[in-house]
Every structure is written in C-alpha cells, then in structure tokens.
C-alpha cells in the first residue's frame, strides 16, 4: 500500500488529470452542489446525522463508517458530494492507470476519465444525500481490493488475497451491488492480460485465482454476517438482501444476459438513445475486434465465453439477487435495470473498451476519442437535465407540502400543543412534470418517479419545518381509536385532495386522501379493519 502511495505521489504530472475529472463532475452536477436538495429518505438523517448502526436494518454494516470518519456522520451541503467526487475520481484514476495499466497522454487519459465520471449512471446516487458519500466512496475501496488481488498473483499471495477479501467485504457491507465493479473490472483486466499482454490462457487462469477466492470469501462472509444480524434481530429480511440459490442462478443466467444486452439498447431516464448507441458501439467494436483476433476455433469459443462473462459481470448483482422476494416497491424498479447498480459495472466496462480501442491503430484511436467526447457531452447534458428535474420536482412537492400543512393547521379540530398520527393516503411525485421522456424509454424510479414525500415516513417531512413536533411516528389507525366521526369520514365523506373533505382531523389522527388511488387503498383497508356486522 505504501509503495502504491509512493508511486501515486511521485506522479505529480498526473495531478491535472485528477483536477479535470473533479472539475467535470462539479460542472455536471453544479446545481446539486450549490442547491441543497435531498431525496425521500433524507429528511431525518439531515437532522439527526448518520450513526454507525443506522444501516444495520438492511444489513449494511459498513454503510456509514467512512461518513463518520470523514464527516462525523453529518450530511453537509457541498462537502458531502464534493468528498464523494474526490473519492470516485481517485478510484477511476487508479483503475485506469494502475489496474488497467493505461498509459497515454494526460489529455487522452483526462478525456477518458471525464467521460466515464460524468456518465449519468451517477444521478441516482446523488438523489439520496444520506448515502451519496458512501456510495461514491465504495469504488475506491473496490479498486484497492482489485489492486491487492492483482498483486497477489506476483507476491505474498495469502496476504494480498486476504487484504482484497477484507476490502471487498467492507465495500459489500456498505452496498452489495458494488460487487459489479469488482467482477467487471477483474474480468476486463484478465481479458486484457489475455488479448493485450498476450499471456497464455493458463497464466490468466492463475491470475484469476486471487480474485475468485476474494469474491467467494467476501460473499460468504457477507451472507454469514447477514444471518448473524438477522438472528440477533438487528436486520430485517428485506427484498434487497435475499440471494438466489444455485439452481435459481443457473435458471436466471440467460435472463440476466438478456437484461445485460437490453441495458445497452433500451433508453432509460437520463440515459437517452445517443448515449446507449455510443456505449453499444464501444462494446461492439471491442467485442468484434476481440473475436476477430481469435487464432483457432477453441480460442474463438473461449473469447465468446469471455464476452458473455463480461455481460454477466455488469449485471452480477441482479443475477445474485433473489427476485421472488420482490415487494411491490421493488417491482416498480427491478434491480435488473436499477442504474444505481449499473453505476458500478458499466463505467468500468466502457473504460476498458475505450482503452482497448485506443491501443489499436490510429483509426480506432480516433474512434475511441470520438466516443469519449460523445459520452462526455451527452453525459453532462443529461446530468444537468437530471439536476433540473430534481430542483423543480423538489420545489413543487415542497410547495404542496406547505399547502398540506397549512390546511391541517387551519382545520377547526386542530389543536396545539397536540401530536397526531398522520395517515397520508397516496403520494404525488412531481418530477415527471419537468421531463419529456423519449419513446419506449424505461422510466427510472429514483431518477424520476420516486416522490420526495413517502407516505410511510410522513412524520419526518411534516415535522421538518414545523416550529414544534406535531406529527408522531406511526402510520396506522388503531381499532380502539376509531371514532364514529372517523368511520363516517372514511366510509361516506372522504374526498380527494384538494377538496375540503379530503382532510380529517380529530384528537389523535390527521387523515389526508392525497390521490384517488391512495383513497381507495385506505378506505379498502379501513373496511377490512371494521367489517360490517353480520346478520345471523
């Protein structure tokens, strides 16, 4: 590690590369740097900070460790994102220069890294402030793990493999889909050894051993930790921590490969068709050239397998995760197309493709440069477009929240000081109003659809700007608290916001029917709670 640090610090001439990547990131996301806006999970962490144990509920035992070390667990405007950008830039630089071993002029390196850094896969990560810093810092930990595994094949195999395992486990404990970066980058590196460094297949297989051991051990330990946490009632068995069985993995293989291919083609929110075309061209050119250079049928077969492995690697987390446990929430945004997970796979793969093309003849070099310029320009444009919808959507929903609060507080039954349980039936996400989707576009959940005001954490945002807490936690109506007035309201009078009878206030509850769907759900549940008396 100290040798690596010495090596990095001795390369002062690379400082402009790092600076340009950070500047590019700051430019692409400047509206989010200078306007402190946040996502729907952030209301409470903004006030109470992120404590070390906060991630345990979903098994993310290391999620807030770095945030506590560097920012005292606080979510700070500017610093939160800026520090994350710094870590991510460092990760990309190490990946490019020291892991992939790319040696080119500063300008070319800076261009490649800027184009990768500003890819809009990051937008979903910037939606939630409470995990922005940690999610942006995991790539650095994973790249360090990769460097350890690489080193293990030449010296101190046990020490470096164990170091790689621990680093990977540390990152997986913060956000398991970071495994995509480990697998993708490792696969790229090994392919590079095979095709660019012309190493024999056997040597490449030997080099792969530390990676496989690290991956296997880290995943095994992760599963063990999950089990231990669940047994001690520290962790809930949530949709996002269920792994597939071996049989399921085999069954899911073709489906995952298909999803991976689709991800190169199907436009997604803020990942428009031109960007998909550019990424597809980069990958197709790399794959075509890689296959074209095969020396025999068996070699061709081997190379096809390697490309399939790459496709699997970028969606590795989607392959591992058990989809049968999908809740309604996960079904809205299946892990397969979650760009937050793609953030860990695609940039590493694309960077490798560009490097591969750049190492060929002048024509391919020019194509690689052109692709990098295209990706950079489309990337920045879409990053800013995301920032714009985020800004407007946040304002629009906060204005609605202000109106809701003033209506509650103007209600004749509202009394102060008094705390209420709020039942908000329905949500009104408004970001979509400021976005024109392309035809056949796959809409992203956190990128565009998630409301800032989730109904099940209503107390967090209703109290956020209030001078005194007036909403208490909890989102359910207790049968013993049902009054005839409430029953009449829920069965007869209830209307949908903004009509006057969309709101009910009594001594304990505030009920708001925000949308027709929410109202139907609430009244349906209420009917189940209080079944009509049966006549015998």
């Amino acid at each position: 590690m100290s040798a690596l640090l010495k090596k990095i610090t001795s390369r002062k001439e690379d400082a402009p590369i790092l600076i340009s990547v950070i500047i590019a990131l700051c430019l692409a996301f400047s509206p989010l740097l200078f306007n402190f806006i946040w996502g729907n999970h952030d209301w409470l962490p903004l006030i109470n900070d992120n404590r070390l144990s906060h991630g345990l509920i979903e098994g993310r035992f290391s999620q807030y460790l770095l945030q506590n070390i560097f920012l005292m667990g606080k979510i700070l405007p500017l610093a939160n994102i800026l520090l994350g950008f710094f870590f991510y830039t460092l990760a990309l630089y190490l990946l490019c220069r020291y892991y992939y071993g790319f040696q080119a002029s500063r300008l070319v390196t800076a261009l490649f890294l800027c184009s990768m850094a500003t890819l809009p896969f990051m937008v979903e990560i910037l939606y939630f402030h409470f995990i922005t810093f940690s999610l942006l810092s995991w790539p650095l930990i994973v790249v360090l793990a990769l460097l350890c595994c690489r080193r293990a094949s030449t010296s101190h195999p046990f020490i470096f493999t164990m170091a790689g395992t621990l680093l990977l486990l540390f990152a997986l404990g913060g956000y398991p889909p970071v495994v995509n970066l480990f697998v993708t980058a490792a696969a790229c590196r090994l392919i590079g050894e095979y095709c660019l460094e012309n190493k024999p297949f056997k040597t490449v297989c030997k080099s792969a051993v530390p990676y496989l051991i690290s991956l296997f051990l880290a995943l095994l330990l992760l599963v063990g930790i999950f089990a231990w946490l669940q047994e001690n009632h520290r962790m809930l068995s949530l949709y996002n921590s269920q792994a597939s069985t071996l049989m399921e993995l085999i069954k899911k293989l073709p489906q995952t490969l298909a999803i991976s291919l689709q991800s190169f083609i199907i436009p997604q929110s803020f990942l428009p068709l031109p960007l998909k075309v550019a990424t597809s061209i980069a990958f197709l050119l790399f794959s075509g050239l890689f296959l074209f250079r095969s020396t025999s049928i068996s070699d061709l077969f081997l190379r096809i397998l390697m490309i399939l492995l790459l496709l699997l690697a970028v969606k590795f987390s989607a392959w591992l995760v058990n989809e049968t446990s999908d809740s309604a929430f996960a079904a809205v945004d299946p892990a397969a197309f979650m760009i937050r997970a793609d953030f860990y796979g695609f940039p590493a793969l694309l960077l490798f493709c560009l490097i591969y093309l750049h190492r060929r003849n002048q024509g391919l070099k020019n194509i690689a440069l052109l692709l990098a310029v295209c990706l950079l320009s489309v990337g920045i444009k879409n990053d800013l477009a995301f920032a714009k919808t985020h800004l407007f959507g946040f304002s629009a929903e906060n204005k609605l929240l202000e109106r809701l609060i003033s209506r509650i507080q103007e209600h004749p039954s509202y009394q102060t000081p008094q705390t209420y349980t709020i039942i908000q039936a329905g949500e009104l996400p408004l970001r979509r109003k400021y976005y024109t989707p392309a035809p056949h576009e796959k809409l992203g959940y956190y990128t565009l659809n998630a409301p800032y005001t989730r109904h099940w954490i209503a107390f967090e945002y209703y109290n956020f700007y209030a001078p005194e807490v007036f909403i208490r936690g909890g989102t359910s109506i207790r049968p013993e608290n049902i009054t005839p007035a409430m029953a009449t309201f829920l069965t007869e009078k209830i209307g949908v916001w903004p009509v006057a009878n969309s709101l009910y206030v009594d001594d304990n509850y505030v009920i708001i029917a925000l949308t027709p769907e929410g109202k139907e759900l609430l009244t349906g549940q209420f009917r189940l709670l209080t079944p009509p008396p049966t006549t015998e």
Binding site: S30, P31, N35, L384, K388, A396, K399, R403, Y434, A500
Partner: protein, 522 residues
C-alpha cells in the same frame, strides 16, 4: 481544421489563449450568482419545462433562433450550461473582434477589452430569457466571424469560399435576431476607423478592402427577407420595417438618439456610470483626432467616428417599433461602440492613452460587476416575490369549493405584477423592461405559470374565455365586486372558468373587454 485555421490566421497563440481563459473566468465570476441560481424570464416558463423545437421561433420570423439549442442541448434549457456556453461564445467573439480591429496585442489589453465588454450590464438582458441566451450570444461570434472573413476577401485566393462563409454567418445571425445588424455596422465602422488611423488607408483603399463586407451583408439581408417570405411569420410587431419614404426624416431623429445614448441613464447604468463611459469615449476620440495627421484626415476621421456612433441606432432607423434605449438591442450596438473606444485607447501609440485605457477598463469592469450583482440581487428578490404570489394564488384556487383538479377551466389573468422595481432604488431616464420592469408573472403566460408547480393540469388551453362564460353573475362580479390581488375578490372560480385579477389596470382592461363581450351577446 488546423490548416484552415492557420490559413485564416485564426489559430490562437499563447497570448490569445491566456487572455481568453482569464476573461472567460472573470465573465463567469461577474454572473456567477445568475449561473448558480437558475432564474428564468417570463418567456421561458413553458420551454424550460418542455423543449425548444426548431420551429419555435418561426412565428416571429426567427427561423435560425433555436438551431444552436437543438444542436447543443437537444432543445433543453439546462442550468449552468446555458450561461457557460453563452459566455464561451461571447468570449470567442470578442477575441475575434480584437483581432479584426487589430487592437494592440497583449494579455492585459485583450483580457481587459473582452472582460469590459462582456461584463457590461447590457449582457444581462440576454440572461433574463434563458431560452435565447445561447443563441443570442452565439450570434455575436457569427457576426464578427462574418466580418472577419469578409475583410480577408480582397487579398485572398478563394474569394468565393470566403464570401459564402461570411454570407452564411450573416444570414444565420439575421435569421436568429435581426437587430444584430447593428453589430455588423458598428464593427465595420470601427474597422474603418482603425484602418484609416493606424494603417493610413485612404477612401479608395478602404472601399477596395471593405466593399466585400457590404456586399456580403446585403446578400445575406436579401436572403433573409426572401426566407421570411417563405416562412411567412405571423403579423407580429417586431417585423414591421419603415417605408423608404420615411427614412430621410428618421435619419436625424436616430442621429440624435445615437448621440444621446452617451447620457441617457437606464437601470443599472445610471448617470455616474454613463458619464464615466462617456469620458472614456471622449478620451478615445480626442486621442484619435490628435494622432491623425492633417486637417483632412482629422475631418475624415471625425466623419467615420460620427458614422460609427450613428450605426448603433441602425435598427431603430430601420424598424417601426421603438427600439431606442432597449438594452438587448443596445447590446448589439452601444456595447460594441464602448468596446471600440476602449480598443482605440489601447491601440493609440501614446503611452498616456494606454494608461488611461487600463485605468478606465479596470474601473469600469469593477463598476460593471457591481452593477451586474446589484441587478442579479434585485432579479432574485423580484423572482422570489412574484413566485410567492403565484403560490398564494394557487393555494386559493386549490381551496376554492368550486375547484376540482379533474376538470379543465378556461383561464384568464387580468393584469400582472412586476416586483423587481420594488427592490431598485437607482434613478434612470429611460426604463428598460428586460433589465428591470418586465414581470415574471406576465399576463399572457398565466396558464403556463399557474400550472408550473401545480400537481395537476387544470387549465383548458384550447379555448379562451367564451361569451357564454360571461353570465350575468360573472359580469356583475367583475363590474362591481372584483378587486386586485390580494383582495378576496381578486379570484373568481365557477365550474367553467378561473379568473385572477392582479392589478387595477388589468381589471379596468378586463371590464372593458367584458362590456364588449356583453354587447356582442344577442
């Protein structure tokens, strides 16, 4: 590409690069508050939410207006990039202008020249509307490029290619914003002065060199007019040109306007500032006249200087609407004239004049920046205040018992509210709508504005108020009970219509319309 730039003498050297980078950073600093606060004007409301189409400007004959947006941002108005790209184009344009005029070259002179021009509060007028910022700042680059290419024609081998290039530049800019014609002629006038003074060129040589410029501009203008015939824009106010017979009479009027611009104060460019710039201009004129040899050359130079000053009012001379003292038009004229005088001061061989140029430009850049920040602070307050009213109006609409988000209402906004002037305490002779008094809550944008942050779409945009909407009850309400905002009777809602009254003038106008509508009902 490199070869082409080299042949055209457009390959920047170290001085050029340094000056451009420093200027670009300084310009961005001067407008940083705007860049980071993403404010927009009253024309932008719909475009900022949706996208600009190539055809969006056709109705007023601006057929090239949105080409840059479609090419650069896919028609989107994006925070940050809007200003950054605009300023990059403006910086390039001013660097090219310095080359075109042949201003004495140094990092300091180029930097001060570019920064002085770009930070003038005239530039603010292109920041108010975000939907044309990039285009209208790009036009300056194309205009100067057209002039630069035209100036090369007389000595070049490939005359036709250069002429075609220049014509395309002029044509694109005219198709985007016709008042850019001021830039063509102010810069050409400046070039003639520079050539006559420093290259000792006589009328004949000047004509020989610059006849191509005139020819290219005329061809581009003819093509522009022909395109308008094809495009067939709506009959809008800003396309009406003066008849030939009216021009002689208007010449003297515009001459007066052109010279009065040195003294007429407008918002954020008050008397003191104007006087300082006038002193700088006077210093440049005195210096030039002192430097010119012989009475004949002095008279010729004075004539050229007067002509250059007059060209700042060229648009006012050519069109029917009053365009004098309008900041966005003066950006293409007066701002270039001031820059010309600064360039002249820098280029005079006498050291005292160079020192004066440095002192004036440094002082004025600081003054410009302060004025820009004053303006931006006022814009921000006005923007926030007007949008707060919009929030309150919407809250009243939403809580009205006759409002249902499932319905579509015909909407009318009577009057508007402009709050930027409330935060301004300067004195001016002529108001400027773009810099100060234009409301964000414009009367004709009511529907777009009221739905901007609303969770629902509740306005029927296909129909205006209909005669049958004016029931006796509605008529009576507006004739007798309605009052401007924030009175409870400033809002009227029934099952079909929503009407908001913002001010008394709007209410009076609406009453007048109601009487007319009423009289048309059989």
């Amino acid at each position: 590409m490199k070869n082409l730039l080299q042949r055209l003498n457009l390959l920047p050297d170290t001085i050029d690069k340094k000056a451009c980078v420093i200027s670009f950073l300084l310009i961005n600093l001067a407008f940083l508050y705007h860049t980071l606060n993403f404010m927009w004007g009253n024309h932008d409301v719909k475009f900022i939410k949706e996208e600009l189409q190539l055809s969006s400007g056709l109705f007023e004959g601006r057929f090239t207006q949105f080409i840059p947006y479609r090419l650069l941002t896919d028609g989107q108005i994006l925070p940050l990039i809007n200003n950054l790209l605009g300023f990059a184009f403006l910086t390039a344009a001013l660097w090219l202008l310095a080359k075109y005029w042949n201003i004495r070259k140094s990092v300091l002179s180029y930097t001060l020249f570019i920064t002085f021009f770009a930070t003038q509060p005239y530039t603010l007028s292109w920041l108010y509307f975000t939907f044309i910022t990039i285009s209208c700042l790009l036009w300056t680059l194309l205009a100067v490029l057209g002039l630069y290419l035209s100036a090369l024609v007389s000595k070049a081998k490939h005359k036709t290619a250069l002429c075609v290039g220049a014509i395309v530049c002029f044509y694109l800019t005219l198709g985007g914003y016709p008042p850019v014609i001021n830039t063509f002629f102010v810069c050409l006038g400046g070039k003639l002065v520079f050539s006559a003074l420093f290259e000792q060129k006589n009328i004949k040589t000047l004509w020989h060199t610059h006849k191509f410029t005139l020819l290219n501009i005329i061809i581009a203008a003819v093509l522009f007019k022909l395109t308008l015939k094809v495009v067939m824009p709506d009959n809008v106010y800003n396309l009406t040109t003066e008849s030939l017979s009216a021009l002689p009479q208007k010449f003297l009027a515009t001459l007066k306007i052109a010279f009065s611009q040195f003294f007429v104060a407008v918002p954020f460019m008050e008397k003191g500032y104007k006087t300082a710039v006038a002193f700088m201009s006077a210093a440049a004129i005195i210096g030039a006249l002192l430097y010119a040899g012989g009475l004949k050359q002095k008279l010729w130079l004075a004539f050229l200087l007067c002509g250059t000053v007059w060209t700042t009012a060229l648009t006012t001379f050519l069109v029917v609407p009053h365009t004098e003292y309008v900041s966005r038009i003066d950006f293409y004229g007066v701002a270039f004239l001031y820059a010309f005088f600064l360039g002249l001061l820098f280029s005079l061989p006498a050291k005292p004049f160079n020192n004066l140029a440095i002192i004036f430009s440094a002082l004025l850049i600081i003054w410009n920046t302060l004025n820009d920040y004053r303006a931006l602070h006022i814009w921000k307050q006005g923007f926030t205040a007007e949008f707060q009213i919009l929030d309150n109006v919407f809250e009243r609409i939403e809580t009205h018992p006759d409002f249902s988000p499932d319905k579509r209402y015909r909407f009318y906004q009577a009057g508007d509210i402009s709050l930027r002037p409330n935060y301004y305490h300067g004195k001016y002779d002529k108001d400027d709508v773009f810099l100060l008094s234009l409301p964000y809550l414009a009367i004709w944008q009511g529907a777009n504005l009221h739905e901007f942050y609303a969770p629902y779409e509740y306005i029927d945009r296909s129909l205006p108020l209909l005669p049958e909407d004016i029931t006796p009850e509605v008529f009576d309400f507006f004739m007798n009970n309605a009052r401007p905002w924030p009175h409870p009777n400033s809002l009227y809602i029934n099952k079909n219509i929503i009407i908001v009254v913002y001010n008394q003038a709007g209410l009076d106008d609406f009453r007048h319309k109601l009487r007319l509508l009423r009289s048309n009902i059989p």
